[in-house]
């Protein structure tokens, strides 16, 4: 009976001559994780789908270069390279020269999203008192602590939060109509 280690060695050996079965097995084992990873680093779903397909085409071409250590890590590295390449085509000014993956992730987070200015406006409109409460919760403060800090009753903390959320929803709806 094949043990996990010799099963893996067999797979590695077969990978060096990249056959369809190994390729299919890699796809079945890792495609979902890779898709989640790629989609959450791309501007649009369509970009993500394209990079996902391109990635698997690249894997087919370079499968024999796999060194046999960790298939998933190798596949993720191919995905990272393609994500950076795709982004470079769109924003050459931001990504001229070499860029590390970490720097790249920072740059895509900072990239202005169409929704953000609207969200920022609505937050501003709803006002500071709501923001104080939300920031308090996100930093791990309990309702009582926030109440003491802001000098308001505990019930007011909860009502500010729910009223603020409702107002933001309304504001977004209004602005995007």
């Amino acid at each position: 009976m094949a043990t996990p280690s010799n099963h893996s060695a067999d797979l590695t050996d077969r990978a060096q001559r990249m056959d369809e079965n190994v390729y299919q097995q890699w796809y079945q084992e890792h495609a979902r994780r890779l898709m989640a990873f790629i989609q959450s680093r791309c501007k649009t779903k369509a970009d993500g789908e394209e990079i996902f397909q391109e990635m698997w085409l690249r894997v087919w071409k370079s499968g024999t270069a796999f060194d046999g250590s960790n298939v998933r890590a190798w596949l993720f590295q191919i995905a990272r390279n393609l994500i950076i390449d795709a982004s470079r085509k769109r924003r050459p000014e931001l990504l001229a020269g070499e860029v590390s993956w970490e720097e790249f992730v920072v740059s895509i987070v900072e990239e202005e999203d169409d929704r953000l200015p609207v969200f920022r406006d609505c937050l501003k409109r709803v006002g500071g008192p709501f923001l104080d409460v939300i920031q308090g919760f996100l930093s791990g403060k309990k309702t009582t602590e926030i109440a003491v800090e802001l000098g308001i009753a505990e019930g007011t903390v909860s009502s500010r939060k729910s009223r603020g959320e409702e107002e933001i929803k309304q504001c977004l709806k209004q602005k995007l109509q």
Partner: protein, 299 residues
């Protein structure tokens, strides 16, 4: 426009599981941007996931985000970019819970994508003989090519292998126990309100206490049967629930499966009574959580 930050549960104790459901969606980056707007500019930090989680990262990878402490979650929300680093870590190194979570949000068939990729490859490499994906939920029609005879033989051989593997797996499973726990007939398809549904799940879990195992083997079988019920819950639609409640339930379900796996691992090495007591506590706690949620859910 839907903002992820406005769908966050009110209770901080539910944040880890909610976050886990966000990790497999395609808009985590939007949530990170929203958080940055809310928390404002933060001082530059050298913190990374390894430093923040330390040894806990192994547990998170193995069992899921329910292993994060509240204080770690608060730091993640104050430095939202770390969420992306953590997501990458768990997608790369996370255990079976990641697959389970991903299966719940699978929108476009991976079979369909496979066909698209292999069609492109066939155009570039006409000699290649890719098959449709076999072990998937939805069977795809098999398209015969020029090599139809050998393709057919391969498909028959593969299907035979799949059937044999499936049969072996089935024979090694604990005896199916229809009618108890979450396998109770009609439980998941009941046309009821969200509070009633959650309460019925809570009641169904109490069936655990109706039959008491008297030795390790019986306890193992019973635990595996209960675990099967949790797996059924994970793959069900839960149309009775809101998106938030559904995300809560799926997250909890995964945490319960992890706990049950822990009891099953302990069983050969610990006294049967001790493991049974711990399993009782786990199931009572999940039953209580469902009951509590039923009181809070909006019908």
């Amino acid at each position: 426009m839907k903002l992820s930050s406005l769908t966050m549960p009110d209770k901080t104790s539910d944040w880890a599981l909610w976050l886990q459901s966000q990790f497999v969606k395609d808009n985590l980056i939007d949530f990170v941007r929203e958080l940055q707007v809310i928390v404002g500019e933060q001082p530059a930090s050298q913190l990374n996931i390894q430093k923040l989680l330390g040894d806990n990262l192994k547990r998170v990878n193995k069992y899921g985000l329910s292993e994060l402490t509240e204080s770690q979650i608060f730091v993640l929300f104050q430095q939202p970019q770390l969420l992306l680093e953590l997501q990458e870590q768990v997608l790369l190194n996370g255990g079976d819970w990641v697959e389970t979570q991903l299966a719940a949000v699978d929108e476009i068939s991976f079979d369909e994508r496979w066909m698209q990729i292999t069609n492109r490859l066939k155009q570039q490499h006409p000699k290649s003989t890719f098959e449709a994906l076999v072990p998937t939920v939805t069977a795809k029609p098999i398209h015969h090519t020029k090599n139809s005879k050998s393709s057919l033989m391969k498909v028959v051989a593969t299907l035979t292998l799949v059937l044999l593997v499936g049969l072996t797996f089935w024979l090694n499973q604990p005896a199916p126990a229809p009618g108890w726990g979450f396998n109770q007939s009609g439980l998941l398809s009941a046309n009821v309100s969200a509070p009633e549904y959650l309460e019925s799940l809570s009641q169904a879990s109490q069936a655990w206490f109706k039959k008491r195992p008297t030795n390790s083997q019986e306890l193992e079988t019973r635990l595996k049967q209960f675990r099967n019920g949790c797996t059924v819950l994970l793959s069900a639609q839960h149309a009775q629930l809101s998106e938030t409640d559904r995300a809560w339930l799926l997250g909890k379900c995964q945490a319960w499966i992890n706990k049950i796996d822990g009891h099953l691992t302990d069983l050969p090495n610990q006294e049967f009574q001790k493991v049974q007591a711990e399993a009782d506590a786990t199931i009572q706690s999940l039953s209580d959580a469902l009951h509590q949620r039923s009181l809070e859910a909006v019908g």
